[in-house]
Symmetry: C2
Subunit: 735 residues, 2 copies
Amino acid sequence: MRLIIPLLVVVFAAFAAVPDDSLIGFTPERAAAQMAMEQAFDKHVRPENLDTWMHHLTSRPQHVGSPAALENAEWTAAKFREWGYETEIVRYDVLFPTPLERHLEMVSPSRFVASLDEPVLEEDPSSAVRKDMLPPYTAYSADGDVTGELVYVNYGIPSDYEELAKRGISVEGRVVIARYGGSWRGIKPKVAAEHGAIGCILYSDPRDDGYFQGDVYPEGSFRMEHGAQRGSVADMPTYPGDPLTPFVGATPDAERLSVAEAPTIMKIPVLPISYADALPLLGAIDGPVAPAAWRGALPLTYHLGPGPARVNLRLRFSWDIVPAYNVIARMEGSELPDEWVMRGNHRDAWVFGAADPTSGHVALMEEARVIGELARAGHRPRRTVLFGSWDAEEPGLLGSTEWVEDHADELRQKLVAYINTDGSGRGFLGMGGSHALEPLINQVARSVTDPQTGVSVSDRLRARRRAGGEREADTRPDLRISPLGSGSDYTPFLQHLGIASLNLGFGGENAGGSYHSAYDSYEYYVRFGDPGFVYGATLAKVAGRVTLRLANADILPFRYTAFADNVSGYVDEVVELADARRTQAERERSLIEDGVYGLAADPTKTFVTPPAPDAVPHLNFAPLLNARESLVAAASELQKALEGAAASEGLNAALFQAERVMTRDDGLPKRPWFRHQIYAPGYYTGYGVKTLPGVREAIEEDDWDLVDEQIRRVSGTLEAVAAHLRGAAAIASHP
Amino acid sequence: MRLIIPLLVVVFAAFAAVPDDSLIGFTPERAAAQMAMEQAFDKHVRPENLDTWMHHLTSRPQHVGSPAALENAEWTAAKFREWGYETEIVRYDVLFPTPLERHLEMVSPSRFVASLDEPVLEEDPSSAVRKDMLPPYTAYSADGDVTGELVYVNYGIPSDYEELAKRGISVEGRVVIARYGGSWRGIKPKVAAEHGAIGCILYSDPRDDGYFQGDVYPEGSFRMEHGAQRGSVADMPTYPGDPLTPFVGATPDAERLSVAEAPTIMKIPVLPISYADALPLLGAIDGPVAPAAWRGALPLTYHLGPGPARVNLRLRFSWDIVPAYNVIARMEGSELPDEWVMRGNHRDAWVFGAADPTSGHVALMEEARVIGELARAGHRPRRTVLFGSWDAEEPGLLGSTEWVEDHADELRQKLVAYINTDGSGRGFLGMGGSHALEPLINQVARSVTDPQTGVSVSDRLRARRRAGGEREADTRPDLRISPLGSGSDYTPFLQHLGIASLNLGFGGENAGGSYHSAYDSYEYYVRFGDPGFVYGATLAKVAGRVTLRLANADILPFRYTAFADNVSGYVDEVVELADARRTQAERERSLIEDGVYGLAADPTKTFVTPPAPDAVPHLNFAPLLNARESLVAAASELQKALEGAAASEGLNAALFQAERVMTRDDGLPKRPWFRHQIYAPGYYTGYGVKTLPGVREAIEEDDWDLVDEQIRRVSGTLEAVAAHLRGAAAIASHP
């Protein structure tokens, strides 16, 4: 039942950029048919399917290479075939190390051997399924047997090492212990190794991920004391996918690097542990008390070390090549078979993976089923629709990356957009992606009803943003979508090939701590994730609409005015960032020259004044500002031309190919695989996005020559996009 | 030895408002003599005296009414007499309840009886001295025997109850448990009672005051699990001093209120407990999870309740009238005996009180001893110097308040300034007080050497402020001093009588958790407070200089340009505060009207939308802005007139009487005892200062009619101060 709250309708109607009775990219008559079909789509969606399928898929551990991985691939493929899709299982052979030995022992001042085990919980029968279960570990950790003093490094990000240096503490030749949070996991050992550490222990502090946040499992949803977070520590910001086959699909005959050569494999041993295992280790560290912001919620005083706690960390892995099975389902378009729209979600998990990834995977399946049903009833999509059920996402986006690398040329040519989901829960729509798709996803979000409140999922999200203090959400017609960093399978599509992408999911009301643990189970999910699968069904409606509108639109629903608006903001940000760093460096230099830090420090404690930063030069942002002007003007010109334009393959190609123009073949500094010049995961954040990454990261790293070069490159890219948009406008005006 | 760091001298010399070879208020020849005497003063100061005296004074519990209280008064008086002072012990008879019964028991869902005990520590022999020791309790709690469900109320300040209301939680008929912090302790039960609570438990959370901050006693300096914070819960923001004798000294024949009539006695029972005792109570509270900012560092999930934990709190007190013994020592001025300068520090403690108050008290004693020695050598102060060693400060500034009320007329007429200290430690000079004394204390701080770094205590403090991000400290010649709220014995002088006051002490490097516990011992203090008493000696040099410069200056060193400068800032603040509240109320109303909070809330949890705030009217700040102009002009006129003026009793009287003009006989709204119109403790902060309190608190309480009235009153006060300053300028120009 849809509840209408009249006041809200009135208030928010004023915000709609495009009237919601005219669908972006559709002629009026086709819009009516599309909306009727979407109503039919909604009626077909059955939450109980999601429940049944999740129960089936998560009954056994389903990591890449596991027995269940192949069986679930075959089961999924059978479903797609049943629903009318041409379906194939596409296999790649990828490096996937699993642990042969895991040992962590404190050898002094007292002896303690970490349990490294997630116990069986009576309340969660899944947790008793031990066959094929991978224990807590991090994939692509180095083998090693190291012994050293412990140093607590907080989140283990670069700024944390600056704080340690001020206190005269080095990690050279020592083992660091870092809490999860503050960056993607793989950054922590990478930065530790850069500073000379010989080993890295990761743990989930109860402040960030445990009892501080709420009641723990199985009483509540948060991480219990023995829960640990598995994950990948490959250097994904350099390139994701199989570490042995960068740039090419991991086919049987692909040329492979050796493990020793692979640059993304971690150089030191890394192990994730629970807070029960971390407690004795942290309690045995002495030395300076950690800065206030570094302290977690364990009942102890957090010290930095080094030592006296010394630990032995011993890790050995299989280094096996295992098969990864992507399921690729295809429904050929009735009118434009060579324009493709792809929808994807990974299928592999660290253990059972009810939330991550199955909650999104079963929504995708339900979309496929319903689209199949609609097709049989005569509503076959005009463009070709692909569904990807990816394997091996967890170790580093391997399934999707290898497939994308393997099919790069065809995808570049034909793929209009890629729509990703991953783990999803209850609450508010999360929308990230290419900004040219911002108006489309906003229009879709206004047309789908939130199952708890009866308003649209857009209205609910807007309420959350307004309540959270986002002033822009009081008045801006469309809600902004987030730029994409990394962390799921859109990365190879968007950042390697320049294919416009969206990443969608629900969350915010399913907070908990099952992530990458043995407790991410069906039993957990139906209590704390999305009881009744009502948001899973809603996700199917949102992602299904996006897929179908892209598949059926007359003129593809890209809006580069939204892209230009967001990029304008990013340009302002990098200019302000440089100015802020200049001001900050100036003051910092004067404080250091005046000896202020030394005088302010407690003389009874070690304090090392940091080196004075170099002065920040004034930078020539003119090319970037000029490129922005071009971009804004061209986007506006295109938008005007689109009003009343007739659809054509040339126009549509120009519209979806514009994202390709945002890439450069030589990619970003230090990481040529990442070609997109607008969006990238941060080199030192891992998942967290950096927009205009070439310029932004060069500023953050104080590399001023590089900034100049990158300003020129990014400006060139934006000018090229502008030229491309003017070309599209010309096609629209004179078809 | 004084280290000179040439760079710093050059850098900071540029900041000096008044050249430091010309002392403010002194003729050049008298300045030279004064500086020579101050050199002699420094040479006489002996840290070992502070050590010896602290050891003596803190060997037994020394709360008001204890056997040691009288003995320590007599011992102190004997010292002053030995040093050449006319000394008397001035007794007042004051209400001081001590516990006859303390019982806190959880009666369901499980039984737990709180220990309410601070155990003896082998490492701290003082803690074994049990005779006369007051156990943890709060003075002026109500008697009571109440049983009710527990509600966790965070710090228990008004905004916390707004959060509870949003979650549908009332404390009516229940017992609240509040952590220390966020306000002065007495605010917590006051606000709880206003909301209908029947009892109030206070506890020290290890996040604010325990292992989260650092290693706990006796290993480190922070509060150990059984440490509890005693204190007063009288409603001091209404009036301090003996609850039974507001406005008059508690002399034998004073008219007294009955205990039942006394408005400042708490209306509900209140008990402070340790975190060891709080742990089972908090662990048994269920209901919604507390907001993130409310969560402490105990290893549990903080819930709000109500219940299911139910507690019985049973408290009974003696309600005795006990003698309070102030020691008043006097050295008559050699030239101006009717102009007085007073230096004070309390002597009573909750238990041994090594830090609080003895660390400051022994510095005061050393100042008195050295001044006595200098007087014998021919350098008797020109003005009369008084020393006050106050009793009964801990229960609510009783000793000082009763003495000030008892001698109000003479003090108003003769007392030039009051210089307070209290507990002091290691690190940085803390300076608070009347802003007309800001240039004086800055000049003094530039002339005293920091014992750890060899730069002046001013340079060290400036370094701390600059390192902490205070931009103004990069360039402003004088460091700002803090306006005074309450919390020590300056309150009756400054806020009841309008006597210019300073409050001084060192701290910032002696962080710990001995406050108001049995572990505030000599053993603790010499390890963690001020090892070697080098900062105690430095405090004696700072406070001694201030006292002697006030006592010997030709023209009293008040600078009303500094007062006008600071008040100007306060005027800006209240105008901005009203504007900010208007903007905030407007947005809040629109969010509530749009139903935003309801939509943003998780429907599975209770959420009550708060009532929409009233619109904030535009206010007529013109009188205040005009008064500010007058004040700034008059202060500038006086400053010009003082350049080259000749000293006279009339001019000096005009200078020190200006602070009296900042008071009004009818005081502040709801609390006539507080007469100062510029500085007051906050009605809902307790110790924390509110400047321009009449206006500021009326804005904070959304009482717009009262704001108008208070703007007019405060403007009248500022105009009166301006007129007084013009009068002083006239005297200075035409003596």
